[in-house]
Amino acid sequence: MIICDRLTKTFGSITAIQDFTLEIPDGCIFGLLGPNGAGKTTTMRMLSCLIRPTLGKAQIDSYEIGKKEDAQKIRGMIGLLPEAPGLYETLGAYKNLDYYGQLYGVPKQRREESIRNTLTDLGLWERRNEPVGGFSKGMKQKIAIARALIHDPKYIFLDEPTASLDPAAAKIVREYILELKKRGDTILINTHNLSEAERICDQVALVKNRIVKVGNPKRLARGLFARTINITMEKIPSSLLKDISSLDFVLQAQVKENQLVLQVKNPEEDNPQVISWLIKQGLHVQFVTEEEHSLEDVYLKLIEEAAR
């Protein structure tokens, strides 16, 4: 489990992140969302024991961030994928992975097996000795992810894991991350890709130099936006808007072309009444859907609010 308590980092007069308080349970995929300069990478670096917090505390299992004697233990438990793949471009994929396997103290046989399996999965086994400098960005990113996982870490920190990948490669990486979750690994992801976070994260924290909001991506949207129902009809009479607004459970009503857009107090109870009322009015209801707010809507709204 990762516990952060008012974690703060300043660089001179600039505060990168302030009062970052959070608990990330084991086996969870946790996303840190925020614009550039929001302090996501700084937070990840603090948790990786690469930089020391200015204030506050954080614990990974029983080890404390910022304590020199715990730093090595924490680094051994973490697999980090930084923003840039940072591979040794003149060396082959095998040597890149083998180097890190050795530094993490992975036994030779397990290391060889792991590298072989990973490179075979990535379709790179035949090209294992080619300098990685000649590989595509996506390929490099995959190798870098494999490098972060070479020692089978309990905690995996991924900083923009799909940023440089084409859609197909990004999909493979996302599926891979979900596979890791099934193994019980705890994954912390920094990302700008909101749809990605929505798809794979159990929890997200919106960050803008401090935590703006934490929660499940879907629940966040529900908490922020009133639930809206779109009712598509063959024809909408001009008097409908006035009539339906008079119903006491209807909070707001709008007409957009052949769609009636409604906000009601309690959709689960009120929606059937609305539909019955419409049918009684002799209207032909074609579709009824609930308008979903994406994480992007949540993100933009919250970040906008935080900037005010």
Binding site: F11, R45, S48, C49, L50, I51, R52, Q72, K73, R75, G76, I78, L80, L81, P82, E83, A84, P85, G86, L87, Y88, E89, T90, L91, K95, Y99, Y100, Q102, L103, Y104, G105, P131, A144, R147, A148
Partner: protein, 357 residues
């Protein structure tokens, strides 16, 4: 500190280094040019043009040849045959079939003579047996050994002052030797300055620093990965240089002059400590700057202790004797140790990762 981790870092760096053909080329070419070609260019004209004739060292001869107070009264201008003498001073004699022990022999003609523990001056030797004898200015063919039947191992010839080559060689050897100290101190600026800041620029430093490797292990690995090729290349140039210098000089002086004790101590003690100092300085600078060029310029500046030694040698203020080599190697060794602990103390992952100016 786990040396295994330092070893892993070093091997990876060497693997990367092996792929950089141009860097390898310069690492090999520079020592070859400075340590092999340049000395040959200096020595070949010298040995072909400067005469090797040795002149009699008259002043030295008078000093060495002064007789002790208790010497016996000399026999002068006599011819002695089939005799045996002990503790005598023999002057202007012709000695045939004579055995001499503890004698001082001046201006004699010795034929078929056995001389033991004696001093011979101004004499001509022929078919003589010499044992524990100091020969001073003995003329004729005797001294080239053709007419001396046997000589003891500690026979000492102290009769001549050096030839021009004899006078010039030690100075030139000193200069060439300095090249083999300068080379290992200069080469690391090509490799070591890149070690940390290069990784930072390639963005490979962050995942490396995120491993459980300690600062000491990382630094040690980086240091050895610059030290090994620098010293390897120096040793290659040294071996080649010494061999070729001997090939050039043997026909003139008659025996291999190099490597002598000074040269052996230099390559085994002074060159490695100077190299290590340079590597440490460059790695230290590399961990403190954010640009490879800045690291190279500063790294080159920090090899000043080696430059001081070079200036001392070139100006004639310092002569590289074995004792001097050991003194400087000890000094450099202490500096190396201090530099390592200093580099370790100021190695800061946070600064390295976050500072870009």
């Amino acid at each position: 500190m786990h040396w295994r981790n330092a070893w892993i870092v070093m091997r990876k760096d060497l693997d990367e280094f092996k792929k950089q053909k141009l860097v390898i080329g310069s690492i090999i070419a520079m020592p070859i040019v400075l340590g092999v070609v340049l000395p040959l260019v200096m020595f070949v004209p010298m040995v072909t043009m400067v005469p090797l004739e040795r002149q009699w060292d008259v002043n030295g001869l008078l000093q060495i040849g002064s007789l002790p107070d208790d010497a016996s009264i000399p026999w002068v201008n006599q011819s002695v045959e089939n005799a045996s003498f002990n503790a005598m001073v023999l002057k202007h004699k012709t000695l045939i079939n004579v055995q001499l022990t503890n004698c001082i022999i001046v201006s004699c003609v010795l034929d078929n003579t056995t001389i033991i523990d004696s001093t011979i001056e101004n004499s001509s030797l022929s078919s003589s047996y010499l044992s524990n004898v100091t020969v001073i200015r003995s003329e004729g063919s005797a001294l080239d050994g053709s007419n001396i039947l046997t000589v003891s191992s500690n026979l000492r010839f102290t009769k001549t002052k050096p030839s021009e080559i004899d006078q010039v060689l030690p100075l030139m050897f000193n200069m060439v030797l300095m090249i083999f100290i300068i080379i290992p101190a200069t080469l690391p600026t090509i490799i070591a300055t890149y070690s940390i800041v290069g990784e930072k620029n390639n963005r490979s430093l962050e995942p490396l620093l995120a491993t459980p490797t300690t600062d000491g292990e990382l630094l040690a690995g980086k240091i050895f990965s610059a030290f090994v090729p620098s010293m390897g290349s120096t040793l290659l140039a040294f071996t080649l240089g010494v061999t070729l210098l001997d090939v050039v000089l043997i026909p003139k002086v008659g025996y291999p002059l190099l490597p002598n004790l000074t040269w052996i101590l230099s390559i085994l003690l002074l060159a490695p400590t100077a190299c290590l100092m340079s590597v440490l300085a460059c790695v230290l600078v590399s961990s403190k700057v954010s640009d490879v060029r800045a690291a190279q310029q500063l790294g080159g500046f920090i090899v000043m202790p080696v430059v001081v030694l070079m200036l001392g040698v070139l100006s004639g203020f310092i002569f590289l004797s074995p004792v001097m080599i050991v003194v400087f190697a000890g000094l450099y060794g202490c500096l190396d140790l201090g530099l390592f602990y200093f580099a370790k103390a100021i190695f800061n992952r946070e600064t390295i990762l976050t500072k870009w100016t």
